[in-house]
Chain length 436, copies 2
């Protein structure tokens, strides 16, 4: 028989207990903050009919990056690449029964077959938070507050990240009302601008000129866009936008959002017309959260307002604001800023049965467990040093020895193997010590 | 554009918030009980190289029930059908670094393409609990205690389920030492016996006679097996096994296990030679947990002792005891026995902004959130009745109205929409009420 490899499938992660502890910490904060804002958790199958992704979504991902195959019944299925199509399907399915505004969140696992790079894997988890049915800009404000609270809960402060916002409807006003560009040009422009940060400045402007070359206002358009795309960053303000666009109606919501953020004590929100987001479905305000760390000065995650995709299911659409945050990116951010806490095992004590005392030692272990103390019970009867080494490997702090002598005297021996401290005490005192 | 269907992929489940609440409850109990026994959580990718399943495992599942396909790099991958091959791979991968005995648990999602039937779906979650590196029967005892605590934590009592145990090594002694059957016959016998409960008695014995017809002791073998397979059920004892097998050495562990269960106050463990478990890898004691409900009197889940599969990865095997429990079966059991608790949303209060008081109302909401109260904030400014209906749909108990009058007087209005009770009070009193 061939020897099997012990590595997981390429691009995907095993979660050994120490990795799972970290994941539980990361997800625990998400659960707690989302619940605090009244968001309810939902979930869905990781396999979806391929049609769900074909109708909407990012073409590049569908054609090149999906795990798509036929099931044994001949149906084409795709492993989830993002949650938006799925959540739209679910909302459409119970459109009438749900109460709006609807606040939902989920931490689904997603799969994309892509080239491996830092901060990305083929398998990833992505916190998805959406509010359905809220027209007022309070929805954007709520999500920005939620993101701030989330990052603060991980220990981050406002110097470590920035929230950049833009407005798709503002850009539309610029493209069509101001510059009278030809119909449909916005999608191409958004896609090009979305890639700006990943290409040399010169190359970007060359492509921009090329893209606009067939426009009547080609020269004026390039100049105005240049000015917009180099907008000065000033917290909670529009920066130094040229006067000619300042009165655009679509900026009303943006200004109001800045006022609301300021009133909530959030001072790292900036207006950045270079933010467009890759997906076509965004309609109005979009935002991205940037890491300010010099080694990772890039966009971490984002979201925005869109008309929910539920019209694809034959029901009337509802306005939605949402964002998605990947776990690789988050972990990378926390590592760089030295924010990952020291994690410990859930096991409070390693109880060791010394000699032929199984039943009596088990009674003590059961008493501890009844007090909500987490106990691993070792009956291997190995040398004390070996047993301590085992407890050490598991990261457990306390070892409790229970032998005949301890049972006779009623004095148990509890050792803190991290400090070496030794306690000889009765069961009640041991319980108090372990609970404290 | 075609209208997309809103149903999930066939055989898989959507988890709307109320379904997710139930799942969080079911999993929460698992996490809590497993931690209490010192088990550490792990996880792994849902995609595995197909080879992992080809080398070991249930042939029927591999050939007919897997979701297997080629990724874009030409590798054959399979969606996880069970956790044992994966956990073996992970243990083998860090064989030296892990401390034994190793207690691990996980609640992985698994996929099998099978005919849909009650208590099963194509997608399911399965609690997996394993202890690696423990030779003594205390390992089986610990898992039986853990299962008892788990079911008790869901509200079950011993009258609702039975734990049936058997010993593969006892059956081997019977097959080969007592009956001198020909080599390799045990695998066929185990597989046939495993199916006994699913076929008519007559058909089973006809097939048994057929299977044994080429044996010298054919007649004696059928008689002895008949006697074993109709063993009388007596708690914590061997039942009425025929004298001729009572002295079999392999029964020593079984008897000891019964003594240990009795001493731990577990009185629903029975010896049942009809239990064999489908998988070939079991080596010694095996067990299955049966629902006693007349509408569902069948095996729910089980496990047993096996030499871990890590030898397939070129390292020395370790003795392991483990079990797996599916979520469909568990939920079915709890429903039948009326044990599902009434679940409620995580959202404590639905705060409603009345009129043009957004910023002041938000300040109150923020104060509540800072006290760890989960608040959904409604700024839709609809009629009071409509807002209450929304809160009702979400299953929220309290609605808090914040309008200019309330802000001026400092007296907020909190309504319990389940009882109709109304409280007018200052913010501190409201906080106390919501926290209690």
């Amino acid at each position: 028989m061939t020897k099997l490899p012990t590595q997981p499938y390429k691009g995907a992660r095993d979660f050994y207990p120490e990795d799972k502890q970290l994941q539980n910490y990361l997800f625990g904060v998400m659960h707690s903050v989302c619940s605090r804002y009244g968001y309810e958790e939902y979930d869905a199958p990781i396999l979806e009919p391929t049609d769900l992704y074909l109708q909407k979504g990012n073409e590049e991902i569908i054609k090149e990056q999906t795990y798509t195959f036929e099931d044994r019944g001949g149906r084409s299925v795709t492993m989830r690449t993002e949650m938006t199509p799925t959540v739209s399907r679910m909302v459409a399915g119970k459109r009438q029964e749900l109460g709006y505004p609807l606040r939902w969140y989920s931490i689904p696992q997603c799969w994309r077959y892509e080239r491996m790079q830092r901060g990305r894997g083929r398998e990833f988890y992505q916190l998805n938070v959406d509010i359905f049915g809220e027209l007022f800009v309070s929805a954007e404000h709520e999500l920005i507050m939620l993101i701030s609270d989330l990052l603060k809960s991980y220990g981050a402060d406002e110097s470590m990240y920035e929230i950049h916002i833009n407005s798709r409807s503002f850009m539309k006003e610029v493209f069509f009302n101001r510059l009278a560009l030809s119909e449909g040009k916005d999608a191409d422009l958004n896609r090009l601008i979305d890639k700006k940060a990943k290409m040399p400045e010169e190359k970007f402007y060359a492509e921009l000129e090329e893209l606009l070359s067939d426009e009547d206002n080609s020269h004026e358009a390039v100049l105005l866009l240049k000015s917009l795309l180099s907008n000065r960053k000033t917290p909670n303000s529009l920066g130094d936008l040229p006067n000619e666009v300042l009165e655009h109606e679509s900026l009303g919501d943006v200004k109001q959002l800045f006022d609301l953020c300021k009133a909530s004590g959030i001072n790292n929100v900036f207006f950045n017309p270079a933010i467009t987001r890759g997906f076509d479905y965004y309609t109005d305000i979009v935002f991205e959260v940037f890491d300010t760390h010099p080694d990772n000065n890039r966009s971490m995650f984002g979201g925005g307002r869109y008309d929910s995709l539920i019209a694809d299911f034959g029901v009337e659409s509802v306005p939605t604001v949402g964002f998605g945050m990947g776990d690789h990116t988050l972990q990378n951010f926390l590592e760089l800023h030295n924010l990952l806490p020291e994690l410990t095992t859930q096991t409070d004590v390693y109880a060791v049965c010394v000699g032929d005392t199984y039943q009596a030692a088990l009674d003590i272990v059961t008493t501890l467990r009844e007090q909500n103390i987490n106990v691993a019970f070792d009956v291997s009867n190995r040398k004390i040093e070996k047993t301590i080494k085992t407890a050490e490997k598991k990261g457990i702090t306390y070892v409790l020895f229970v032998g005949q002598a301890e049972l006779d005297s009623g004095q148990l021996s509890l050792r803190n193997i991290k400090t070496g401290e030794e306690t000889e005490a009765g069961i009640d005192e041991i319980i108090q010590k372990l609970l404290s």
